[in-house]
């Protein structure tokens, strides 16, 4: 009987651990949304709790692709991806969203989840911005003036649809230069252009910090920036060598300002002036501060679920699942009586263990995830039915109760094992979907199958064995 005590102790121990694991989640979800928001902002969200998927609480999922072709040849893809993820995380964090899971997916994709946010225009802007900051000299070649007057004489923009220069302009361009558009000025003003030298002495990669400042004369917002040590040195030498020339500050291929270099600028700091509103200046500072992405990213997948829809679907899906579950529980009780009661206990434990397990891994519950749980429960019920039907078969052979139970378990085991493993094989290949609804299904189904095998085979047997110690003569199944 010592062995049985161990088994009972083991099961009860697991139950206690499960409740202990579930506690932070229960505590978290009983807080008011306000309190949760505050704690999230302070990064005090507990790690080991069950999360609700975007389809249940609303939010946005995006998949971004890094344009590998535009990557610096010297940079390894893995490093570039890691940097891109860090930068995107940085940008979104500064934007003030709570918990945002960001992860690499596949070779060059980045998955970004924005829970609770369905209007993503601003976030998209922040993420998608390449924010490639460059400092370039404005060309002082004599050939520049004819180019600019020619461009001014055009009725349309000097660029073709694919972004390249019109051939008639291209042939006028001085060697080693390129044509750049200026940031839009006051309303109604014609677009202006700059001819800049192709060499880029300094990029945003050397940038250390950027912040919004107010111009002391006019009170307009400007962006002050600081360069790192190395960049500061280059900047100092460069400005020293090019006094009285124009230095263009180019952000994403657009010239934002082109001040005159009045003298050598030491200390590695400077100011970008432009016709910015406070809001624009703030966003620009964030973009600069977060650093430049190693290459541009494009959004290749975007799924938005509004908050109302999530609520509606969770209610309907859950109530339907609840009704189905109650019906099955009732059926087991009526059909198998005491045996059904034991099976129902196992089912209830299944729920507790599954929730605890998912909380511990910080898993995300999605609607298909709930479907996965229901299926794993169905498999657990099937295992119970297999055992109970075997018991009935043995019972009809008028064997003593003490023999029926071990025989039924032994005979049912191979079928339970094989059927669970085959279903598990089908489920495991769903993991390759990376993220999104199908992954949630695979997670709950896989964990659910393992726990289901444990509760329906091990736990129920412990209950029967415990009951056998009272030496019963009748079995009510």
């Amino acid at each position: 009987m010592d062995k049985l005590h161990w088994k009972i102790g083991f099961t009860l121990g697991l139950l206690i651990i499960s409740f202990w694991l579930l506690y932070p989640g229960i505590e978290w979800y009983t807080k008011t949304p306000d309190e949760r928001g505050k704690m999230e902002a302070m990064r005090m969200r507990p790690k080991h709790i069950l999360n609700l998927g975007l389809d249940l609480k609303g939010g946005t999922h995006m998949l971004l692709e890094l344009d590998v072709e535009k990557l610096d040849k010297k940079e390894k893809l893995g490093d570039a991806m890691a940097r891109a993820i860090e930068i995107i995380r940085n940008r979104i964090d500064q934007y003030g969203v709570g918990e945002t899971p960001i992860s690499r997916q596949g070779e060059r994709w980045i998955s970004v989840d924005l829970p609770g946010i369905s209007d993503t225009a601003e976030a998209e802007n922040l993420i998608g911005k390449t924010a490639l900051l460059e400092f370039r000299l404005v060309s002082d070649s004599k050939e520049v003036q004819p180019v600019l007057s020619r461009v001014d004489a055009l009725s349309g923009p000097p660029f073709q649809k694919d972004g390249s220069l019109l051939p008639e302009i291209a042939k006028l361009m001085p060697k080693g230069t390129g044509l750049f558009k200026a940031a839009p000025g006051p309303e109604g003003e014609r677009a202006r252009y700059y001819v800049l030298e192709n060499t880029v002495p300094l990029t945003g990669a050397s940038l250390e910090n950027a912040r919004v400042e107010t111009d002391q004369q006019f009170g307009t917002p400007t962006i002050g920036f600081t360069l790192n040590k190395e960049g500061g040195k280059i900047f100092e030498d460069f400005t020293g060598a090019n006094v009285n020339r124009l230095l263009a500050i180019v952000l994403d291929g657009v010239v934002h300002s082109a001040p005159v270099i009045k003298n050598r600028i030491p200390g590695g700091s400077g100011i970008i002036e432009g016709p910015y509103s406070m809001e624009e200046a703030r966003n620009l500072a964030i973009i600069l501060r977060a650093g430049a992405l190693p290459a541009p990213v494009t959004i290749i997948e975007k799924r938005v679920v509004g908050p109302g829809l999530g609520e509606d679907s969770i209610k309907k899906g859950l109530s339907a699942a609840g009704i189905g579950f109650m019906l099955v529980v009732a059926f087991m009780l009526v059909y198998y009586r005491a045996g059904g009661f034991v099976a129902d206990i196992a089912l209830a434990l299944n729920f507790v263990f599954l929730a605890a397990c998912m909380s511990y891994f910080g898993a995300t519950l999605t609607l298909p995830g709930i479907a996965g749980i229901i299926l794993s429960l169905a498999m657990a019920i099937d295992a119970n039915v297999l055992i109970l039907e075997r018991m009935r078969e043995e019972y009809s052979l008028s064997k003593p109760v003490a023999m029926i139970i071990p025989t039924a378990y032994n005979k049912a085991w191979s079928a339970i094992l094989d059927s669970n493993v085959t279903t598990w094989i089908a489920a495991i290949f769903l993991f390759q979907f990376g993220s999104g609804p199908v992954k949630g299904f695979a997670v709950t189904l896989t964990i659910g199958l393992m726990i289901g095998m444990f509760t329906s085979v091990f736990v129920t047997r412990v209950i029967y064995e415990f009951w056998l110690t009272s030496n019963p003569k009748e079995l009510s199944i």
Binding site: L63, E65, G106, S118, E124, T298, I299, I300, E301, R303, V304, V305, G306, G308, L309, D312, G317, A320, A321, I323, G324, F325, L327, V328, V334, Y335, R337, L367, P368, A371, I374, L375, A378, M379, I381, D382, V385, L386, E389, R392, S414, A415, D418, S419, T422, T423, I425, A426, A427, I428, F429, L430, F433, G436, P437, V438, F441, A442, L445, I477
Partner: protein
């Protein structure tokens, strides 16, 4: 003791040709529908944009369509209850918000006094669509292969594994056929449903195979036909009880689970019915047919 099914002695093996014919007809119907109407692949695989909008004032499908056509936009329109509509434009779209913005500005321009809220938006770029389709296909092929290998290993004969997988392909194909007939879309969630059907179908089959394996040990001399029949009959009560419980849960999800999981529940409902049928009427008789043809040679 309540007993749903008393001890039965149905000769399933003898009726196998009837079962095979029924399946052939069903497969034929599914194949015709797939060939004529095609499989309605969802946004996940084709790429494209889906907008789900809820309007403040009641509006008919025709009005929505008219408002969009006026601005030269063609979408498929699906009406949901509570005055909401799903507008879909499938195909390769390179820019993320392009189509959504066009649709919304068209509606704003042509139905200015009927405000709407955006409930849901999906954009799937062409690369992602191709990638997901590839992954779905891989998931199926690999899991089928995995199942054959596992069953062959556990039952020491690849014939049983192959029969099980044939029954499972039968179920999945018929479910896809049913989806095609009812014009339902196949998206990622449906792929998950199909894989579950596959897993559940093989699970059922294995319970009977397991009983056959056991009976073979007890009665080594028994002819295969008799053995198979005995095994199906002995496990019939379990097969029906288990599948009925699943069926009840899935049916409730189908009727009351709401629009989001409706297609999923439909696939599961149809699939589990086919799964139960194929377990009894296809998988085991196939093993018998196979072995018999083999012995005659």
């Amino acid at each position: 003791m309540i007993v749903l099914i008393k001890k039965t002695n149905i000769d399933f093996i003898k009726k196998r040709l009837v079962f095979f014919s029924i399946s052939a007809v069903l497969i034929g119907a599914g194949a015709v529908s797939i060939a004529v109407k095609g499989v309605n692949l969802g946004l996940d695989f084709t790429g494209g944009t889906m907008l789900q909008l809820q309007f403040a004032k009641p509006v008919a499908t025709g009005e929505v369509r008219a408002a969009l056509t006026k601005s030269g936009i063609e979408t498929t329109i699906q009406s949901l209850d509570r005055n909401a509509y799903q507008l879909k434009v499938k195909g390769a779209q390179e820019k993320v918000n392009e189509i959504s913005n066009k649709i919304m500005s068209a509606l704003n321009a042509n139905m200015p006094d009927n405000k709407f809220t955006e409930e849901k938006r999906d954009y799937v770029g062409p690369v992602v669509g191709r990638d997901l389709a590839k992954k779905a296909l891989f998931a199926f092929i690999l899991s089928f292969f995995g199942i054959i290998v596992y069953v062959a290993f556990r039952f020491a004969t690849p014939v049983w594994g192959a029969a099980g997988v044939l029954a499972l392909v039968h179920d999945v194909f018929l479910t896809v056929g049913a989806l095609s007939i009812t014009n339902r879309e196949i998206d990622l969630v449906i792929v998950a449903a199909l894989l579950t059907i596959a897993g559940y179908s093989i699970n059922d089959t294995i319970v009977i195979f397991d009983r056959m394996r056991e009976n073979m040990r007890i009665f080594p001399k028994m002819p295969l036909g008799q053995l198979a029949n005995a095994s199906i009959n002995e496990t019939l009560s379990r097969t029906l009880i288990t599948n009925l419980t699943v069926l009840v849960v899935v049916a409730i999800l189908f009727f009351f689970g709401g629009e989001v999981i409706n297609d999923f529940a439909f696939a599961m409902l149809v699939g589990s019915i086919f799964g139960t049928y194929s377990t009894i009427a296809i998988a085991t008789p196939l093993v018998y047919q196979w072995e018999r043809t083999g012995h005659r040679r």
